[in-house]
Structure formats: C-alpha cells, structure tokens
Amino acid sequence: MAAIRTFRATFVFAEFITPASQDIIAEDLSTHGSMFIPIILGSDKTTVSVATGQNDFHPLYLSIGNVQNHIRRAHKNALVLIGFLPIPKG
C-alpha cells in the first residue's frame, strides 16, 4: 500500500530508574504464569504518501523486547509496520 524506506531500530533503555511498586507487573498476581512481553513502538519523521493521494502519514512500527538486538536490527519480521498516523494540517 505504500513505499516504506528501510528502517533500522535502535533504542536506549535506562537502567537507573527503579519503578514504584504499583508500576511493577510482577506485583500483580494475576499476571503470574504469563510471558512478559515489552512492547517497543517507534515512528519517524519520514512521511509516506498512500496511494489515495492527499494525506501524509507518519509510519508507526512495533517490535517486542524479547527479540535479541542484533536480530531486531537485521530481520524484517522483527520490526513490523502497524499503523499510519495522519498528519493534520494547521
């Protein structure tokens, strides 16, 4: 539906922030036994013109923190385009 340029994801995560206990998933007993899947979302400044014409969109990408870094950067199935966010005109 649209031409998307090659997208290379890099992300930075902070090691020094200790979350408050109400923000820790493991404190919620109903999550026990489930897999922990951190969701990584990204967008960029590239706008894409979709076939219908008029509008520009920001592409929105999704990956998950379980995929190892070298694979996320190299493999197309690890980083998936999940949305086109319209850019309103002023």
């Binding site: 539906m1 995560f13 902070a14 090691e15 922030i17 200790t18 979350p19 820790i24 998933i25 493991a26 404190e27 026990h32 897999m35 922990f36 899947i37 951190p38 969701i39 990584i40 979709v50 509008n55 969109f57 929105l60 999704l62 990956s63 998950i64 923190g65 379980n66 995929v67 190892q68 870094n69 070298h70 694979i71 493999h75 199935n77 690890a78 998936v80 385009l81 999940i82 949305g83 086109f84 966010l85 319209p86 309103p88 005109k89 002023g90």
Partner: protein, 162 residues
C-alpha cells in the same frame, strides 16, 4: 507450519509462481494482467479448464488472503469533536476527518513470536548475565527493568515446628 505442497490461498504452485511473476517481478499493470489471463483462459477453455487466476481482482484477492505474517489492515476515521471558536476562524484540522490505518498489535506480536526465522533469537524470560563477578547488559531482557518487571521474590520464614 504448512505442508510443502500446501500453496493456499493460491490454487497451486503454478498459481503462486504466476502471482509472484506478474505482481512482484514484472509488476504488470492491471490491464496487462487481465489481457494475459484472458489469452491463457482462451487456450484452456476448449479443454474444459481455467487458468489458476481469473483476472487482476482475483489476483489481489488471493494475495490479500495470505496469512503468514500478514495481519489485515483496518481503517477508522478520527475527527475532532470539541468546541469550535465562535468568533475567530477555526483551524482546518478541527473540522477535517482523518483516516487512521492500523493492524491489530496483539496479532502482530503473536506473529513475531511464531516466526520460524526468529527461532533461537528470542528471550522468553528475563535473565541476568555475568562475566565473572561483573554484570553484563545486552538485550532488553537482560536489563534491570525487565528483571524487576517479571521477577517477584517471596520471603518465607523458616519455622520448624517441634
């Protein structure tokens, strides 16, 4: 995993390869695809047979039906519903409807986890890595945040009853 001879949603291997050829390799126009398939059908009809694809619409339908790593695109229209200024001219975006295209993230994540290509490169649980005494940080699941989010220590008292 699919069986080696399962070419669905394409009717056959020839149907799949034809689709790949006209759509991906040759990038034929819809008009040319129709022309080719009409000629093809003309040679087969006397034998009571039909080509694997009828026309360009049929071709697109078969491509859209591919399930592997494919999550349907959905679309919704967003529009500002708040108050509008009475006196001044309001900005255009306050009255314009915007198309948002998206795919179900839950299904996308399931597909990532199910992807055979990623086998061996997925961390299913948080872990801590050490080089001797020194903690090593690498992937997201090796970090403190992932560890804190998914590990909960329960303190139990050792109380032997006599």
């Amino acid at each position: 995993m699919k069986a080696d001879d399962d070419w669905s949603p394409f009717t056959s291997r020839a149907g799949f390869e034809l689709t790949e050829f006209v759509f991906t390799d040759a990038e034929l126009s819809q008009k040319k695809i129709n022309k080719l398939l009409e000629l093809w059908a003309a040679t087969l009809i006397p034998h009571g047979n039909l080509p694997p694809i009828t026309n360009h619409k049929d071709l697109h339908r078969q491509i859209d039906a591919v399930e592997l790593n494919n999550v349907r695109w959905e679309n919704t229209c967003l529009k500002y519903k708040g108050p509008l200024p009475r006196t001044t001219r309001h900005p255009e975006w306050k009255t314009t409807g915007y198309d948002v295209w998206y795919r179900d993230p839950h299904q996308v994540i399931k597909n990532i986890l199910a992807s055979p290509d990623l086998e061996g490169h997925v961390d299913y649980v948080a872990y801590q890595e050490f080089n001797g005494e020194k903690r090593q940080y690498g992937n997201l699941m090796s970090g403190n945040w992932s560890w804190q989010q998914s590990v909960r220590f329960v303190q139990r008292l050792f109380s032997p009853s006599l």
